[in-house]
C-alpha cells in the first residue's frame, strides 16, 4: 500500500489545515479601544465558518435587575411583555412600548441561514413579538405602573412619533397615522397609511422614526436586506438609508444612503443636526467593523455595501463601485465592533446627574459574531459643542452572566420620559426598565 501513503498524508494535512483555520479568532480590542473618531481598523479576514458566540437566554430570575453606574437607580416598570423592542415617552409621562419582532418574511435561501438561525435563536433576541403597542402608565393614587394594550394588530412596529394630536407608527411596511388624545389608554381607530416603506425580505426589519421639529417631515431608518449583499443588489433598492417623508403628502426621498442599519434617529440638541446609530457589517473579523454613531448629512453616502469607514473597500461586493467608494463619508464616532446598537437618545432632561446631560445614551443589543461578547449594555457618550468626546461609558450593565454563557436581558430601544428618566426596552428579559438618579 506504499502507493497510497501520499494520499493519506495529503488528506490528513488538509483536514488539519481546515481544522486549525476553523478555530474562531478572539478579539484584540475591547469596545472602548475601538471607540472614537479614528478607531484602529485591522485587516479584514475571511473565515472557514462564521465565528459565533451566542449566550443562552435565561431571563431575569428571582427579581434580578441590571447593574447601574454609581448614583443611578433602576426599576422595572413593565414586565411579562412579549418582546419589547422600542419605547417612546409621551408628553403626559406615559410610555409607549412596541412589542415587536421580525415579520419572518425572509425566505430560506441558503444552508447557512438555516444553521445560523438555529444557533442565534438561543439568545431569545429573535423571539416572536406581540405586534402591538402597549401603554405603560403610572397611577397617581398609588404610584403603581400599569399596562394597557394601546394599539393592536400591527405589523412589526418599531418607530413611534407624536406630532400634535397624531401618533405616527412605523410598521415594517408602512407609516400609519393614529389620532391621539392625551391620557387615553387605548386607540381603537384603524391606522391610516401615510406612506409605504421598503418591505421586501426585511432582513433588517426595524423602521426607526423621528419627526422634524416643525412636524413637516418624518425621518425613517431603513436597514439593509443582507449582511453584505448576499441576497443580491436588486433587493437593496431604497434600503440601508434614511428616508425623508413628507407628513402632508407621504412623498418620500432618500435623505442619506449607505448606512447598513440606521436606528436611534435623533436631533443633536446643541446643533440641531440629525444623528443616527448604525450596525456595521459582520464576518470579516472580531474587530471589524466598528458600529458607530454619526451625524447624517443630507445627500450623504456612508459606504455600505462597497466600503466602510470611508474608503475601506469590502471585497465581498461585486460589482465594486469605486465611484461611490470615493465619495463615502467617514462616520463621526465609533463605539466598538459588533456591539449591535439599536437605540439612541440624546439626554436633555435634568433627572439624571449632570455628567449624563447633553450626550447620547446608546442601547447595545450585543454581539453574536465575536468572542468575547461585546455590547449588552447601555452606554453614554458625552458631547461637547455638538461633537462626541471621550470614550463611551457603560451605564447599565449586567445583562449577561460573568462567564458570558447566560443572557438575562438585552437592551434595545431607548427613550427619555417626560420626567427625565431614561427608559430602556429589554427584548430578552421582556421588561421595560426605568433609570433615575
Amino acid at each position: 500500500m506504499t502507493v497510497n501513503k501520499p494520499i493519506f498524508r495529503g488528506t490528513f494535512a488538509i483536514v488539519l489545515v481546515f481544522s486549525v483555520s476553523a478555530c474562531n479568532e478572539r478579539a484584540s480590542y475591547d469596545s472602548g479601544a475601538q471607540a472614537g473618531s479614528n478607531p484602529p481598523l485591522p485587516a479584514a479576514k475571511s473565515f472557514f465558518a462564521p465565528p459565533m458566540q451566542v449566550p443562552k437566554r435565561v431571563g431575569w430570575q428571582n427579581g434580578a435587575v441590571p447593574k447601574v453606574a454609581d448614583g443611578l437607580k433602576i426599576e422595572a416598570i413593565a414586565s411579562g411583555l412579549t418582546h419589547p423592542r422600542q419605547v417612546y415617552g409621551l408628553p403626559n409621562g406615559d410610555i409607549l412600548v412596541a412589542e415587536s419582532s421580525s415579520p419572518e418574511a425572509e425566505p430560506l435561501t441558503s444552508p447557512k441561514q438555516f444553521i445560523a438561525g438555529l444557533v442565534s435563536s438561543r439568545s431569545g433576541k429573535s423571539a416572536k413579538g406581540a405586534n402591538r403597542i402597549t401603554l405603560v402608565h403610572k397611577r397617581t393614587d398609588n404610584g403603581v405602573w400599569e399596562k394597557h394594550v394601546f394599539i393592536d394588530n400591527l405589523h412589526s412596529p418599531f418607530g413611534m412619533q407624536l406630532i400634535g394630536d397624531t401618533l405616527y407608527v412605523a410598521d415594517t411596511d408602512a407609516i400609519l397615522k393614529f389620532p391621539y388624545k392625551t391620557g387615553e389608554t387605548r386607540i381603537t381607530a384603524a391606522g391610516v397609511e401615510l406612506a409605504d416603506l421598503p418591505d421586501r425580505i426585511n432582513h433588517h426589519w426595524t423602521k426607526a422614526l423621528l419627526a422634524s421639529p416643525d412636524g413637516k417631515k418624518l425621518y425613517v431608518g431603513v436597514g439593509s436586506n443582507s449582511n453584505i449583499t448576499e441576497n443580491g443588489l436588486d433587493v437593496e433598492y431604497r434600503r440601508a438609508n434614511v428616508l425623508e417623508v413628507d407628513t402632508e403628502t407621504g412623498a418620500s426621498r432618500i435623505y442619506a444612503a449607505g448606512i447598513r442599519n440606521p436606528t436611534g434617529l435623533q436631533w443633536e440638541p446643541k446643533t440641531g443636526k440629525l444623528w443616527a446609530v448604525a450596525n456595521e457589517r459582520d464576518e470579516i473579523g472580531a474587530d471589524l467593523v466598528p458600529d458607530y454613531i454619526t451625524s447624517v448629512q443630507d445627500h450623504g453616502f456612508y459606504g455600505w455595501p462597497y466600503s466602510y469607514y470611508g474608503q475601506h473597500v469590502d471585497s465581498r461586493v461585486k460589482p465594486q463601485r469605486p465611484d461611490l467608494v470615493a465619495k463615502a463619508l467617514k462616520p463621526d464616532y465609533a463605539i466598538g465592533s459588533h456591539v449591535a446598537p439599536l437605540g439612541m437618545v440624546f439626554y436633555t432632561g435634568i433627572n439624571l446627574p449632570t455628567q449624563y446631560r447633553g450626550g447620547a445614551f446608546i442601547g447595545e443589543h450585543g454581539s453574536w459574531d465575536r468572542s468575547p461578547l461585546s455590547g449588552y449594555a447601555v452606554t453614554y457618550v458625552a458631547f461637547d459643542n455638538g461633537r462626541p468626546v471621550g470614550a463611551p461609558k457603560p451605564v447599565v450593565t449586567g445583562f449577561t452572566s460573568a462567564d458570558q454563557k447566560m443572557l438575562y436581558g438585552a437592551p434595545v430601544g431607548l427613550a427619555q420620559a417626560q420626567d427625565g428618566a431614561l427608559i430602556i426596552a429589554d427584548d430578552v428579559g421582556n421588561v421595560v426598565w426605568r433609570v433615575t438618579k
Partner: protein, 147 residues
Amino acid sequence: MIPKPFIYRSKPATAAFDLLNPIPYGLFVGTLIFDLIYASNADVLWAKGAAWLVTIGLLFAIIPRLINFGHVWFGPSGGVGGSEKIDFLLNLLGIVFAIANAFIHSRDAYGIVPMNVVLSVLTVFCLSLGQTVLAVHKFGLKGNDRE
C-alpha cells in the same frame, strides 16, 4: 498480472451503493458548474444554488461512503483490489474537499470566490479519478475478453 474481479458480500448493500453513489457525484459536478457561473457573473442565485448542491451532495454521500468503507476495509480477505483502496482514498479526499467547500459557501456574497471554484474542482477531480481507476481495473479482468 491479471486483476481479480471485485467480490461483493451483500446484495442489498451493493444495490444501495450503486443506487446512491452517483448522486453526490452529480451534485458535486453541479456545484462546480454553479460555482464557475457565480465566479463569472456574481449573481447570488448561483452561489446559493451551489451551497445547497454541495450540502445535499454531502448528505447523500454518507450511506454509500459507509458501505464502501465496510466493503474496502472489512471485506473478505483477498477480495478487495488495490484499485478499490485507491478509489476509497480518493473519495475520502474528495469528501474532505466538499466539506471544506460547504463551509466556504457559508461566506457572504463574493467572499466565497475563488476558494469555491478551487475546492469544487478538487472534489470533482478526486471523485472522477477514483472512478477512472476502477474503470481501468475492469480491463484485463478474466472474462472481459468474451465481449
